[in-house]
């Protein structure tokens, strides 16, 4: 599974709306759409660090780096080579 698919799948499994009510593109801000709650910010940080075996720098722990699939991909790519 590609990194993008893994991230999408993880977000999908943590939506606070039912699947059939939530459609989002990779560029969509999932927090602004209300598809996830604020608790998810910490879970996403843990997910990125454990799934991609990287340590997110303190300065990168900002919600904008985790607000969309595209932004998460860009954050991970700063840390390591991944196959999108």
């Amino acid at each position: 599974m590609s990194a993008r698919q893994k991230i999408r799948e993880y977000i999908n499994s943590n939506l606070v709306v039912l699947d059939d009510e939530a459609e989002f593109e990779d560029a969509d801000n999932i927090f602004q759409k209300g598809y996830v709650n604020s608790l998810f910010a910490m879970k996403l940080l843990n997910f990125v660090e454990s799934e991609f075996q990287c340590k997110v720098d303190d300065s990168d722990i900002v919600i904008s780096n985790f607000s969309s699939v595209d932004n998460i991909i860009n954050l991970v790519k700063k840390k390591k080579d991944i196959e999108e």
């Binding site: 604020s38 910490m42 940080l45």
Partner: protein
Amino acid sequence: MMDRDNFEKLMTEVKDFVNNKVRPFAGKFEEEEAVPLSLIKEMAERKYLAAPFPAEIGGLELDQVQYGLLTHEIGKGCPSVRALLTVHTSLVGQTLLRMANQEQKDKWLPLLAKGEKIAAFGLTEPDVGTDAKSVQTRYEKQGDHFVITGRKKWITYGHLADVFVIIARNEENVSAFLVERDRENLRTTPIKGLLASRAAYIAEIELNAVRVPEENVIGNLGQGFSYIVNTALDYGRYSIAWAGVSLAEAALEEMVKYARNRSQFGQKLYKFQLIHEMIANAVTKVQTAKSICLQAGEQRNNNADEAIMTTTIAKYYSSKIAMEVATDAVQLHGGNGCCNQYPVERLFREAKIFEIIEGTSQIQQEIISMYGLKKYNRK
């Protein structure tokens, strides 16, 4: 993680400490509206205030299950004493450990570990409780300082703390700051007339243009809610989950003691079937809640993805059953249960608090129900 032998030895010491120096005096602490400073000093010397911290900063290196079990023992003795662990060690200490920069960790964690500085968490406000994202306390940048103005309310250990984590906003940005008590224009006022937690130095904090330097920002500016508040409340919920178990177990112990000693109609209370029902229910609830807390602790140790949800479920369930068991404990005591000569009167009042703090039961139900609607959807 502390090895098994040392942890067993530690827990024996903790139980002795609680049974000799905490539990017999819980009512007195409440009457005097203060956990004695000498007791706090002793807890610090025993390293209980740094129980989950690494050894290099003065901690006992307990893992999450072990720290939960320690919280449980202390909570059985006195909720106001346990509350110090919740705010000082869990909400502030563990959050700094996780989210603060190295300079902040180096400066504050050894002081918190030794109890030389006591910490409190300033989130709730007179008009902002559950809707925590809407804090009205403001900050603005002035040169190389931030200026914070606002009021915080219901701050546990607020009247004793030397340093506060203060959550404030600037427009849409919510940030977290370390604010020392000796900063000019910061004042705390104890809150009287409380239902419970009367010995926990609960206070209102007034910040009237308090200036703090840039280095006091925790995490990144504007990320205080997503990362600092959520991290702190997750640690707090875990602590309160164990607090609920401990209170329920303390109430159960009082039920058993009373049922075995009190006679009515010429026989001990424990001979009556309806008393059996109360005790059976209490035992089942206590053990079930403890199991969920242990599960949450294991998941937290493993950094498992479900840990946040299991912690939420544990907090919701144990606070709910603490109230139920404490209510039955009063009922079993009859008129005596309505008098402060018996601990159940205090336990009954203390139990109610757990359904409110660190996220009300209703908020936990909202979160758990959505989780259930997805997890148990049979496609």
